[in-house]
Symmetry: C2
Subunit: 473 residues, 2 copies
Amino acid sequence: MFLKQFVISALVLAFAGPALAQEKAPPALSDAQAKTADRLIDAGLEDDLAWDILESLTTEVGPRLGGSPAEARARDWGVAKLKALGFKNVRIETYEMPYWARVSESAEIISPFPQPLAVTALGRSKATPEGGVTGEVVRFPTLLALQAAPETGFEGKIVFVDEPMARTQDGSGYGTAVAKRSQAAVEAGKRGAVASLIRSAGTDSHRNPHTGGGLRGEGETAVPAAALSNPDADQLARALERAKGPVTVKLNLQVETAESVTSGNVVGEIPGQTDEIIVIGGHLDSWDLGTGAIDDASGIAITTAAAKLVGDLKGKPKRTLRVVMWGAEEVGIYGGKAYADAHKDEIDKHVLAAESDFGAGVVYRFDTRFSEEERPKAKVFEGALRRLAVTPGNNMAFGGADVGGVRDLGVPVVSLRQDGTDYFDLHHTPDDTLDKVDLTELRQNVAAWAAFLYIASELDGDFGRLPVKGDAQ
Amino acid sequence: MFLKQFVISALVLAFAGPALAQEKAPPALSDAQAKTADRLIDAGLEDDLAWDILESLTTEVGPRLGGSPAEARARDWGVAKLKALGFKNVRIETYEMPYWARVSESAEIISPFPQPLAVTALGRSKATPEGGVTGEVVRFPTLLALQAAPETGFEGKIVFVDEPMARTQDGSGYGTAVAKRSQAAVEAGKRGAVASLIRSAGTDSHRNPHTGGGLRGEGETAVPAAALSNPDADQLARALERAKGPVTVKLNLQVETAESVTSGNVVGEIPGQTDEIIVIGGHLDSWDLGTGAIDDASGIAITTAAAKLVGDLKGKPKRTLRVVMWGAEEVGIYGGKAYADAHKDEIDKHVLAAESDFGAGVVYRFDTRFSEEERPKAKVFEGALRRLAVTPGNNMAFGGADVGGVRDLGVPVVSLRQDGTDYFDLHHTPDDTLDKVDLTELRQNVAAWAAFLYIASELDGDFGRLPVKGDAQ
């Protein structure tokens, strides 16, 4: 029975394969193209440029908050770097944005167990009154529990949302855990609380709290908001458990804001034989706490080094390779939105877009978002990337926050999915520094991106168009 | 040949064994005693008390710098805890000590790559002038290199000793790495520098610098002294490498001091049938940055829980078990010295002393410092501890910083050597918190200490006396 069934199954498969393929035959690389893709992978695996870019940006600029003078220095750095590497049409495309920065932050248990707590203000948090606010802590195990709580009875209290985050390879634990980052302060404010604390959206156990974008939309009712490091969230939860009465905490957050400052995207190109464009890049800004090595100097380094490898091939690529170092991603995706807005008129020339923005862990999966019709082209990439242990993914690629703007205008995207098992140990903390990046893993990224980029440039035909969405319509 | 040699070797061994033993026959436990030691190990491996003590001290008191109000609260906690557990003669033995505490600390690269650096003041560091000092950084790869440098030419400079630390199981990397902590500021001062920075004496890669005792003796010439976290030391070294000219850093350390404050040791006893005393314990104070879970609430928890297990046996122990929670160890071993001084008159009744002060990693070795004559008694302990995978050690036990005072007065000591492979990832940093302790490892410690303590109490005869040393003579 086993053998007979196997034979039948094999026949069905043998039939089904060609039948599906007939709908749209997957294109193939020529032998010469396949060899070139392979040579690019070889070169990527020995690449030193990405590390040099990464080290240069994180050392010579360091932290670079969106809209800050440090981000302006990063733009100058980016222009000089792209020019030195031989990129063409290197320029800064500016835009205006609101500005927020932390000035100082502290928290302490006042009673019954006086001691400091490690906190960091969440992005766009309001300041507390000078000298801070003091209130009794009310703990909620999850954001859902806070949302389900009555809307009165929390006057003068400090709301503490203690929801933990799951460690996952694909970063999917983040989506759930991060909701409290934007919502806790709003929900607390609605209920008359004076401040909100959250357990960091992070998977580590170090005294480095994770900052990150806070408020969205309903900011009016929000109260000052900070994240506790995971050990400090543990500590506050234990204090609540062990105290015989209320636990009182004092939180002092001071911030500065400006209605409008100038930021910008840094753009450089490897001109192609046609006016078709492939846009790739990373975001240039980082949170202020670390030097943004994994978030996102690695993305800048990987995409720039990969584009340089392709640009160094003999002859022009078929399509223009445009590297963008997007500005002010962390604080509101201002650069990505500005890019889409500035390039609306040439959006039809944008054939494909992709951002590297998930650290420097190995690429383990290749996701696309092509039109259904062009989906079979994914197989060409998948075949070339197989020797790097990259597995085929789905056709629901995110593409990256900064290509969301062009994706919503119909531009297909891909995601070279990176192993993010440890990413949220470091993400948005002081610990996001160069020593956390592994050279071998960084090189595997460069190899994968170089092969991807070459194929995307040379392959006959495009990747279709995506449905135009929302405001972009 | 192989077989013949083996037979001869075996004969030699068979002869040598008894011959050596005849010099001093190792005593043995009675069957009943051996069973009791085993039962204590069983109980230790299921112990919950140590964790409760550890959690209680680190949560309800938190950081507890020697001489501070927090350390005073820790003493009150200790008295309450020992009384609640049924210890007798519970008391605080006070002493006076000088006081030092950090008020604020910051550092930044001013040029050419402006960015903050994570630093912490070293214990007893002088303050910088208000507003900080700024100077060009001169890097030395080791303390030896600084010591070998000329005594002029460093006027106005900031000396940076970048010496790394080796990760070792027994903590032996610390001795070398820590020399710069006390000496860099002195050597820098001699040479006219305005401040000194060291790479943290630690083995981790987090943005949490390691504080620790700084100046000794020659403090007069010392300059303000701080430690950079390992990633920040990396960063400063890279900045020096990549800068085309000088790298300028600003360091701002503000501290407070007092000539004399009151501190104290907390003492509690399980009275024995004789007036002989076995002293064990840990130190109650911690550095101010973390909650001192591994340094040294674990030592307090392990020794108190072990003594309680022995005290709960039917009948009094032969010898009095005295648990001491020594004060102000980190800032100058004030408690240990005060204990030795206060108990000089009954020093002959002190049969044995030991401190647990190396975290909560498993005990893997049993070292003694008995008189040579009594050294064979080590075998009794070794035999009982074997099932816990504790191996026989040497007769050069350190015993612990706080028993140094009584050791120098002739009291034998032991060391239950703990696995410290990860200890210096956390030591003296904000990251020394409860989540870093493993319950199973903590219980193994309690089991080992309970068996040790029982045997030390019941064994016939003492452990000899050690040579009286130094000022103690």
